[in-house]
């Protein structure tokens, strides 16, 4: 693995009034890595991710994404990242092709490039002949896979996935992770939050957030060794029990 760092965070903090959502988190993510961002509901994962995406301004601390400072180079960051939100984020009343066209278009891809991308994406997802299907007619699993493919349609350096597999069945989840590995092999860094501990084991490295802090950060194998646990599930439970905050 190369040692190029695509995300760096140093004592990154976000406060909303008296409430410290993210408390001095420090970590790096290397290029091409699949970085798991774990934590119970309300632990501050989404807030941290939003700061990195340029949706929220940090209260203090430092962070760079794709080499750009989150305070000043907000616009540059946006050009270099993809984002898939917790909620399903495609337009249900648009067709598959129209969704691809729209998202590729707002990232400034040329018409030929969009056409090419649409073709390869449809093929990759085995959706041939369904270009003109409205997205709302697709099953949830397909929608999530499509949403992911669209989130990386402009070939960003990093893609942020906010609980991408919520509510998806195990088989589709596995297929989804297949797509993630493919993207990662193509050089895209994956930053993913999840609730599913089996998914955590798919990641190269994971961090576990408790009450806004990062309480553990290592490869899944090392974490299991350190916590003398048989699975990531146990690691997570040991850490999450310390939480003072209750979930949202």
């Amino acid at each position: 693995m190369q040692n190029e760092k695509v995300i760096t965070a140093k004592e990154l903090t976000k406060r909303f009034g008296d409430f410290t959502a993210v408390d001095k988190i420090t970590f790096d993510v290397e290029k091409g890595e699949i970085f798991g961002f774990l934590g119970a509901n309300g632990a501050g994962k989404t807030t941290a991710m939003r700061m990195l995406c340029g949706l929220l301004l940090p209260t203090s601390g430092l962070a760079t994404v794709a080499g750009f400072d989150v305070y000043k180079k907000n616009e540059q960051i946006k050009k270099n990242i993809g984002y898939m939100s917790q909620k399903f984020s495609l337009y249900e009343d648009l067709t598959i092709a129209e969704n691809i066209r729209f998202y590729a278009g707002i990232y400034g891809l040329s018409d030929e490039r969009i056409k090419e991308k649409t073709g390869s994406l449809i093929k990759q997802l085995h959706l041939e002949g369904q270009e003109k299907t409205l997205v709302k007619a697709l099953p949830l699993g397909w929608k999530q896979k499509l949403a992911f493919s669209i989130a990386i349609v402009h070939e960003p350096a990093i893609v942020f996935l906010d609980e991408p597999t919520g509510g998806v069945d195990p088989v589709t989840r596995r297929e989804f992770w297949g797509l993630i590995y493919e993207a990662s092999a193509g050089g895209i860094t994956i930053f993913v939050t999840t609730h599913y501990m089996d998914e955590a084991e798919y990641c190269n490295r994971v961090s576990v957030m408790v009450d806004g802090r990062i309480d553990a950060l290592d490869t899944p194998a090392n974490l299991m060794k350190d916590f003398s646990a048989k699975s990531m599930d146990e690691v997570f439970l040991q850490l999450a029990r310390k939480a003072v905050r209750t979930g949202d």
């Binding site: 995406c53 340029g54 949706l55 929220l56 301004l57 616009e75 946006k78 050009k79 990242i81 984002y83 898939m84 939100s85 917790q86 909620k87 399903f88 984020s89 495609l90 337009y91 249900e92 009343d93 648009l94 129209e98 066209r101 729209f102 998202y103 278009g105 707002i106 990232y107 400034g108 409205l134 989130a151 942020f160």
Partner: protein, 368 residues
């Protein structure tokens, strides 16, 4: 710029896919115009009346015929006693009764003095007033025809000329009113809903992460609605000219320019609402409460502002539709030029600038 156009196209697809809403957007003004034009009119026509004629002479017959023949009245019953009149009123069959006393013609010709009693149902005071006025006018006409040959020593005759709207058609005042209403509804309500919908769906977040500038997103979302409202204006104007016979006396260009200005005012209100509202329902409710009702009440097209208590008159000044209504009336009905509406135009421009300023400011804060 290309990204911007792609966004506008996407927005257009949303409207296009939602045929039901599009249908409503396009037909709502048409239905409103037709409703106000033919059904909900404040003119009084074909009111049912009864006549109690105790004289049955040439004079009472002539007057009765004149009244029955006029388009304002519809003679439904001849009654033969006061009790009968009371009964018919109570049954709700008539709005007015006319009573001729005994020996009407004789008194008129020989006693120089004859009386007719008009009894009207004043549970609806405006209609009662209008009906008695119409009836009195017909009776006066008859009196004049009787007196025609005799020169009265001193007479004052009033000559009435109804400027701008000689036939006193209600359409002259509600066409501008409906224009204000429709523009408010389409622009402000639909844009606020469209923006809030993206927030609700979670797509707004994804768009905000993209390199698109937030303000461009907002503008792109408003453009299709701007086009729909211009289409609405065109259909309202066509209907009013060709179906309701309300002419556009002034400059069409000026009218369209002012309408575009008001559209932008409404759009900025819509953006402002979308900044605060979290769900589509809230947005719709806010739009209805803050736009629809004030437009109905305070634009002056249903209720004269001059008759309101001073505090309400003051409040009416902050309702943009009031100014637009005045502008449209002046241009369309009175045929006045820009020199007659520049003050109102400046007020609208100032309101728009303020509203847009506030919404841009609030939008930036939300993203920080």
């Amino acid at each position: 710029m290309k990204q911007f156009l792609i966004f506008v196209k996407k927005e257009w697809l949303h409207i296009w896919r939602d045929r039901r809403t599009l249908f409503i957007l396009i037909w709502m003004p048409v239905v409103q115009i037709i409703l106000y034009g033919f059904a909900l009119t404040n003119e009084v026509k074909n009111s049912n009346i009864a006549i109690f004629d105790q004289s049955k002479d040439e004079a009472t017959t002539t007057i009765s015929d004149e009244i029955a023949a006029s388009r304002y009245f519809n003679l439904v019953k001849n009654v033969y006693s006061y009790d009968d009149i009371g009964g018919t009123f109570r049954q709700g069959k008539i709005r007015m009764a006319i009573v001729f006393p005994r020996n009407f013609r004789y008194d008129l010709l020989h006693g120089n003095r004859a009386q007719i009693q008009l009894i009207a149902d004043a549970s609806d005071p405006n209609t009662a007033n209008t009906l008695t006025n119409y009836a009195s006018a017909i009776i006066n006409d008859y009196q004049q025809s009787v007196n025609q040959n005799e020169a009265l020593p001193y007479t004052i005759k009033t000559q009435v000329r109804m400027l701008y709207n000689p036939e006193l058609k209600g359409a002259y005042s509600f066409v501008p009113g409906v224009m204000a209403l429709v523009l408010m509804l389409v622009c402000a309500m639909m844009t606020s809903i469209a923006i809030v919908k993206e927030k609700e769906m979670g797509t707004m977040e994804v768009i905000l992460v993209s390199p698109l500038k937030p303000f461009r997103i907002i503008i792109a979302k408003t453009i299709p609605y701007l086009l729909v409202s211009l289409l609405n204006i065109a259909s309202i104007l066509l209907l009013s000219v060709y179906v309701l016979d309300v002419p556009i006396v002034g400059s069409l260009t000026l009218l369209m320019a002012e309408s575009t200005l008001f559209t932008i005012t409404s759009l900025s209100i819509g953006i402002l609402i979308s900044n605060t509202a979290k769900t589509q329902q809230t947005a719709m409710f806010m739009a209805l409460m803050s736009l629809f009702l004030p437009t109905l009440l305070f634009s002056g097209f249903l209720f004269p502002i001059e008759n309101m208590p001073i505090p309400l008159q003051v409040i009416s000044n902050i309702v943009p539709s009031k100014w637009y209504y005045i502008i449209v009336k002046n241009i369309m009905i009175k045929g006045l030029g820009f020199e007659a509406v520049w003050k109102e135009t400046m007020i609208l421009v100032a309101m728009t600038a303020a509203l847009l300023g506030i919404s841009i400011y609030k939008f930036k804060i939300r993203l920080a």
